[in-house]
Symmetry: C2
Subunit: 277 residues, 2 copies
């Protein structure tokens, strides 16, 4: 079997490395729109060979690891008649509804929507590493719309690279993930900008400890990738920001009103998060 | 020399372990208001002996490692006439202005205000470890008001446990730290509560990846300790929350208005934080 990976950044590059270790494929092919990424991917050994997008479409398994607007675009470009009916196309995008709506009925059974809940704040081929996926969750969405063969193969591959599978419809996915991933990214970007907007950010940032480091880590993430996500999941992200703003206002009012017992109870309630994580 | 540590949780307990390694003191004494902490501190070897607060006051060096309202209270209880004029009293509180104002003129030269920029979200004696302070910054505040002997000894001890020293007046300290530590904690508590307030937090939290973990880590921090900090640094914390809210609103408006280029530029601006960290 041959596998083709479109997009050779953190997610696609790490997928190449992880699949290589499974020894399931005789050849791992890669494609990236950025010629520098192609070079880097080859010299880092993320894929065996770089080929054209048309060559990728002939593979037995195709991973789409580009920003989510790119996934929609590539899916629209695949000519169903040129694709082997046993092909499995798996996307790794962080939103799922719009991608699912955009796929043509002729291709739908070949397609599996997947969202691996792992990543780092770094991006590009140099950020890739072989254990990125290990021990993380992958959410497979609207799996009943995929062909039985494709669904099984996808599950098999994700398990082979060490992932735990959760199934979900794409609408619930986008709602939940807005809250625990998309909105926290917006917060981190806003926090970074709140500090950078100060008169002398350098003096202030010379003092940072571990707390600020963890809160600002996500603000290093790729703007190009995240722009697409916020675009495709606009309504859910706005709702999630509103939930957060309400809670922040609650905390602020405790402080303004000097209701220290209320604030302590608010923090004790937040402490209960530990039970779930 | 004898050192006495008041408060044997994460900060005080780790200070006991760190000072033991320096071999500067013949005896490390400890005190905690909580009898369970005393037992734990002894069995974990955080201090050599637990004694009364009055015994601690007789030590050559005294560390105050309790919540900041507790620091103010203890400083008011120290009878300047019973304290050796060569004593050095160092507090490790996360706010500095109110503590500095509360100390009596008779004790002022014996006192050094310090804020080690390290910690974890865990608390109590069991959270203590010997390298907590290593490689972190400690901010020494209003050092010109301390005696020359006390200032030198404090610097010496912090360097001996592996810290880097930054000097600052307590008013600037409280302003800067509100922004890079106190406000980010409020955000983390509010984020945790935004998710916990959902209909089925368990289902949502089963999906979390590394992003949410780092954003919610601080929400596990001690409510008792943080309540005092927000109380003592109320105005700066409220200003910092307002700065953050402005930036969050800016991001939200880009999303609402579908200004994706504006949003991308906002995120690219946040990316520049990396230059400073």
């Amino acid at each position: 079997m041959k596998v083709g990976i479109v997009g050779l950044g953190l997610m696609g590059g790490s997928m190449g490395l992880a699949l290589k270790k499974t020894q399931r494929f005789e050849r791992i092919l890669g494609y990236d729109i950025n010629p520098i990424h192609l070079q880097q991917a080859l010299s880092l050994g993320l894929v065996d060979e770089c080929v054209s997008l048309q060559e990728i479409f002939k593979c037995d398994v195709i991973f789409l690891a580009v920003p989510v607007d790119g996934i929609v675009k590539i899916l629209s470009e695949i000519d169903a008649e040129c694709v082997n009916p046993n092909t499995t196309i798996i996307d790794l995008g962080g939103t799922k509804s719009q991608i699912n709506h955009s796929i043509s009925p002729a291709l739908r059974s070949l397609f599996v929507g997947a969202h691996p809940m792992c990543g780092t704040e770094f991006f590009g081929p140099k950020a890739a590493f072989d254990t990125l996926y290990h021990d993380s969750i992958v959410i497979l969405t609207d799996l009943e719309q995929s062909g039985a063969y494709q669904a099984e193969l996808a599950k098999d591959l994700f398990i082979a690279i060490g992932m735990k599978i959760v199934k979900m419809d794409s609408i619930s996915h986008d709602k939940h993930i807005a809250l625990i991933s998309h909105m926290p990214h917006i917060i981190s970007y806003a926090l970074a900008n709140a500090v950078l907007a100060q008169e002398d950010p350098q003096t202030i940032l010379a003092l940072v400890g571990g707390g600020f480091r963890s809160m600002s880590r996500l603000s290093k993430s790729s703007p190009a990738m995240w722009k697409d996500i916020f675009k495709q999941n606009k309504e859910n992200v706005l709702h999630s920001i509103a939930y957060f703003q309400d809670k922040l206002t609650e905390a602020k009012e405790f402080i303004e009103g000097e209701d220290w017992e209320g604030l302590e109870a608010f923090m004790a309630q937040a402490n209960t998060l530990q039970k779930f994580l």
